[in-house]
Structure formats: C-alpha cells, structure tokens
Subunit: 346 residues, 2 copies
DNA sequence: CTCAAAATGAGTTGCGTACCTCAAAACACC
DNA sequence: GGTGTTTTGAGGTACGCAACTCATTTTGAG
C-alpha cells in the first residue's frame, strides 16, 4: 500500500568510514583531484556505488560559494520566437536568484559564422555554461569545441550543431516536425486532390531544409493525390512571402494546401485572403500573437509549435545539471512537437 | 549586447542592516514567528522588497535539517496511465535523493469517497505535501481541507476537486480536451457526413463527463453534417467496450467517426477491425504502448495526451515550491493538451 | 512611576559539502 | 638503509540560513 522511492540519507563521512579512508581522500576522489592511488580510488568509488550515495545538492551548492554564470547567445534583430524565449527567461528571475544563478543574454548575428564564432570565443573562461542558437558551420563548430575544451558546458538551442561536441541539444527534431506538418496538411485536405504550396525562409537554413525534407517525405508516400509545388523562398519576410505566394495562387487555381515553414506568416495570410482562397488548408509554425489570431479566425488550420518557454527553462536546467555533474532528466528536457489547433491553444 | 537577468546576491545580514534590526528579528518576520511589532514587520518587509531579496534556497534547505516527505495517493488496480506516472517518478530517484526528498506511493480505492477520505486523513501530520488523484465528492473535499488546515501542501493530480482549498491542480482542462477531440474527428472526417460514436468509461466520472461535454459542443456548433450517437458506457473495460461498439457498428452503416473518451482502447480497436470498418476516424486518449501501436498501424488517427511524465514531475516540483514558499512557475507546471499523431509520437 | 509583558538584540550551533593546509605515513628506488 | 616522492590523515574555515537561548530594552497598563 505504501512504497518509498528514496534511499537513506548518507553523508560523505559515512562513505569515508565505509571505504576505510578519511574525508579528505573521499573528497579527492569525488573531485578527481590527483594524489590518490588507483586502488584507493576504486575502494571509494565502490563505497559510493554500494550505497548509491548522492551528494546533497544544497550543501554542495552552498559550499562552493561563487555563483554560476550562464550566457545565452541569441540572434540580434526582432524575432518573435526568440523574444518569447527571452521573456520566459525573464519570468524565471526569482527562481534564478534564489539559486544564485546569473544568466546573461548576448545578442549577435548568428547567421554570420565568423561573427558568431568570435562572440563565442569571447565568452571563454568567464562562464560556467553557454546556450547558443547556432549556425551549423565549421567555424562555429570549432568555437563550440574550444568552449567545451575550456570546461564550459555548452547547449545548442533551437538549432543544433550535431558535429560539434556540445553537451546537449535543446530543440525539436525538424524532420519529424516537417513530417507532422505533411500529415496534417494531407489529412485536413480530406481526400481532395490538388496542389500544395510551400513557403520557406531559405532552403539554406538547416532547420527549414529539414522540415521541407520531412514534409515532402510524407506527401510523396502517403498523399499521392497531392502534388507539392516548388518551394517559395520568402526569406522570412512578410512582403516578399506575400508577393511570391500571390503570384503562385494566381497561376494555380487548384491549390488546396499550404505549408509555411518559417516566419513571414503575416504576408502569407494576406496573400491567401486577398486572393479569396480561405478554404486552402494552411499549416504553419509557432504560436505567436499573430498565429494565435489566425487560428482563432480559422485562417490557419494548425500550427506546429516548439514550446519556447519549455526550451528556455530546459536550457537553464540542463546547463545547471551539467555544471553540477547531476544526471539530466532526458524525458523532461526533451522538446516535443506540439500540434496546436484552435481548441488546444495554450 | 549583453544583459543580466539577476540581481546582486544579498544575504539576511544585509537585510537586517538595511532595516536597522538584528538578524533574529528578520528571521522572525521571515518565518511569521510572533513577537514583532507590526511596524517593525513592515520595515523588514520593505527592505526585503526594496532589494528583491531571495533567500538562498541551498542554504535554507541545508539549515532545516530534516528531509521533506511527500505522498502520492494513487488508484489501486492496474491502470496504464497511472503506472506511467509511477514509472516517471521512479526515474527521478537520483534527483529526489540529491535533494533529500522522500516520495512515497500510497495506493487506495480512489473511486470510493470514504475510503479515499480515510486514506487522506491517515496522512495528516506525517507529510509535508500530498498529491492525490481525487474523486470530486464532499467527503473527499473535507479530507483535503483538513490536510490543508494541518499545514500540509495539497496538489490534485489528473482529476481535480475545484471546490476544495487544494493549493494547486496538476492536470488538463478536460472540456478543452473534449473540444480538441471533436475538432480532430470533424476535421479528419473531411467533409463527409454521417454518424459519430462515443465510447466512455462512465458519464459519472468528472473528467469523462467534461470531455464529452466539450466534444458535443464542437460537434454541434461546427460539424452539423455529423450526428453524435448516444454515449456507450464501457466502464473502461476492453470486453464490454468491444461488445457495445460491435453492436452499434452493426446497426449503423454510416458511422464515420469514433471518439474513445477513456480506456478500453483494445476492445474498441478490435470491434472496429472485426467489423472491417478501418476507415472510421478514430480519436482516443493517452499515449500508451497500445495506442502507440494503433497510431503507427493507422488504426487510430490521433490521440489526445496529457504527458504523464510531465504531470509526475510537475506535481513534485509544485509540492516542493509550495513547501519552500517559493513562487510556482505557472507556465512550466501547466499541463498541455497534446495532439499526438503518427509523425509526432514522442 | 512601577512592574509585567512584549519586543528586540546578541549570540550559538549545526546542516553537508568544498577547499585548503600541514604533518605523518607509506612507498619506490638505489 | 637512506633518500625523495607520493599518498593519506587530521583538521580547519567558510558558505547562508534555521532554530534556538538568554539577556536586555522598550512599551503599555495601572
């Protein structure tokens, strides 16, 4: 009827006694300090294992004295999604200061590899952890690896650099996101046949390219009655997206679905409404003030969302766990692909 | 270019100096201990506010000495969803013991108000916090209020008792969940007209009733071409659900959609397949091993899910924050209504 | 003004760890 | 056996707060 999930509360002193050594030696082993014979290390490690000893987080945190410093390297310029991440970080200030954590925002041009790399190098040594919205480029990869080598914990945020030795990636699987978008468009079109338009920022961006890849995968294999038109590159700008899409709608009367891969949503919506094509199934990304409105109006049918609040908090928690040497709760920190429709708007 | 999100690290000593009182007085104010003049209380509070002082969590935790005890009161009997919650709690053991938190599972018949109330009363005094999957009944409400009055922090889990004075509810808005199911069935049916079947555990269960309410709301207002058949009460049992649904399918050849409100999924799927009605749009709840398989096979079209791992962790975090007197990160602890289709299976 | 009650100050101890120093012991090598 | 080096022990201090005691001051009622 009752079952406990936790073990007895041992202390380092207990471990020392168990292993037949002094506190100092246990401390040396625990912090990988030199001057302990391999055999002794083993004995201590065994005692720790045997009792599944966990250092008391609070005591450790208190004893180390100095506060931890984390940096968030984010894109400069207005980007609603990034602004949301910043806002959610702002809501954590009480939580952060109660733990004596310093989080600093550093903005830079993340789309210029050398600028981004320089910004990253500049952080070296000063920070315990860095979260970065990264461009996947050899120069950036090298900068990340340098940080890691200097002992800084590094987390990539939203956009990954899988080839680097970053400790963790906080973000979604963009291929799966594209597949989800494809499934939604296909299903919501509901058996009709016709054409599907795709508007992206640029196919050069890793996340956009991956989404398109996943989208096409699903469309090709599961919805043969729908043909995907060539991707329009709107550069995430409203005006350009609107113009390109308006022209496309004019040329094809049988467009039944639309996938907007990135931003520029305002322009896309405008092109649709001005062409009187409200029936087109419209799937896009992210829940912002705008997409929220469009969903409620029925202009957009679904949004694929990666919870920005979750991403911000996960990045902080992961950096903290890494810095403390705690295990990461993978399940907790995994960012889900949310399907948001009018009735489950968060 | 760089901006800090946290304030200087003050200590209680600083606050005492600021307020012109001694450490002892600050301590009395902070812990609502008696023997401080109202005017002095005000001065101290102001100093705390003025400097937005946050007690160092680690120091406070270390100083209080004794570990905190939390109890999870869960339904006895096999229930995959509840088992998942327990499993996720189990994955947290390292996290819990590093913070010297004791979590105990207490199983009881949560569907019998007096039994549940007795179980709750039995916990009084022994625990700092209680999470309970609660039946909404006056007896239970009273038991919860008694716990609250005794100083125990109480969180309702999955199923709420809104009329009680519980500190927090960790779970989804079931009306919105039902609405979401309705929107999905309606949209995925794709313009065809016909009938829609609804299978529930019992309309006496608050969450099931709310889901059905939301479902009907959407069907009535937005999908007039679909008519909802009377609810089948399968009592969350496979055999009974299968039998009832099989009979219904036999009587109505024009069933195009199906909403399974609770468990009994196995039986529902079997009835569908044995009647050869694979084309029926099938929307249900929760991602389990079974529903995962059905989604991958294309038998189920979508599942409405409330992330059980998130619920388990949120309950612990909320209880901890309440016990510490920390603010709750509402956005973080809010449970979302997840739409899960084949391509975004977690 | 007196006296008890209330309010406040001053101080102590302990929580479990990190980090440091210094001395002592064990060891390796010739 | 002596030398120098490595390994280990013993102990201390600090971190910020909770919780407590006891002495002292202030306050208010009579």
């Amino acid at each position: 009827m009752a079952e406990t999930l936790t073990t007895a509360a041992l202390t380092l002193k207990d471990i020392a006694r168990e292993a037949g050594v002094s506190l100092a030696t246990v401390d040396r082993v625990l912090h990988n300090r030199p001057g302990v014979r391999p055999d002794t290390v083993r004995r201590v490690r065994e005692a720790i294992e045997r009792n599944s000893f966990q250092p008391h987080v609070a005591a450790a945190e208190l004893a180390r004295g100095r506060a931890r410093r984390f940096a968030f390297v984010m894109p400069s310029g207005p980007n609603p999604f990034m602004q949301q991440i910043e806002a959610y970080l702002g809501e954590m200030t009480a939580w952060l200061s109660a733990r004596r954590l310093n989080v600093e925002m550093v903005t830079t041009d993340v789309f210029d590899a050398s600028v981004l790399a320089t910004s990253l190098e500049a952080l070296s040594g000063d920070y315990d952890g860095v979260a970065v919205v990264a461009l996947d480029h050899p120069t950036v990869r090298a900068a990340i690896n340098d940080l890691v080598d200097a002992g800084t914990k590094v987390v990539t945020l939203v956009s990954d650099v899988p080839s680097s030795r970053r400790h963790h990636y906080v973000g979604i699987d963009n291929i799966a996101a594209g597949r989800t978008a494809g499934a939604l468009v296909g299903r919501l079109v509901g058996g009709r046949s016709g054409k599907v338009a795709v508007v992206a920022g640029s196919q050069g961006l890793r996340d956009h390219a991956e989404r398109i890849f996943g989208f096409n995968q699903v469309m090709a294999s599961e919805f043969p009655d729908l043909s995907v038109l060539p991707v329009l590159e709107g550069r995430d700008e409203d005006a350009r997206s609107e113009q390109l899409l308006a022209r496309l709608l004019g040329r094809h009367a049988d467009i039944v679905g639309l996938y907007n891969v990135g931003a520029g949503t305002q322009g896309v919506a405008k092109a649709l409404s001005e062409a009187g094509r409200d029936k087109v199934v419209f799937v896009g990304h992210d829940v912002t003030a705008l997409t929220r409105k469009l969903l409620l109006q029925g202009v957009m049918d679904a949004a694929i969302s990666q919870n920005p609040g979750h991403e911000a908090r996960a990045a902080v928690r992961v950096l903290l766990a890494l810095a403390r040497g705690e295990p990461i709760l993978r399940e907790q920190e995994k960012i889900r692909i949310d399907i948001v429709m009018r009735d489950n708007l968060p």
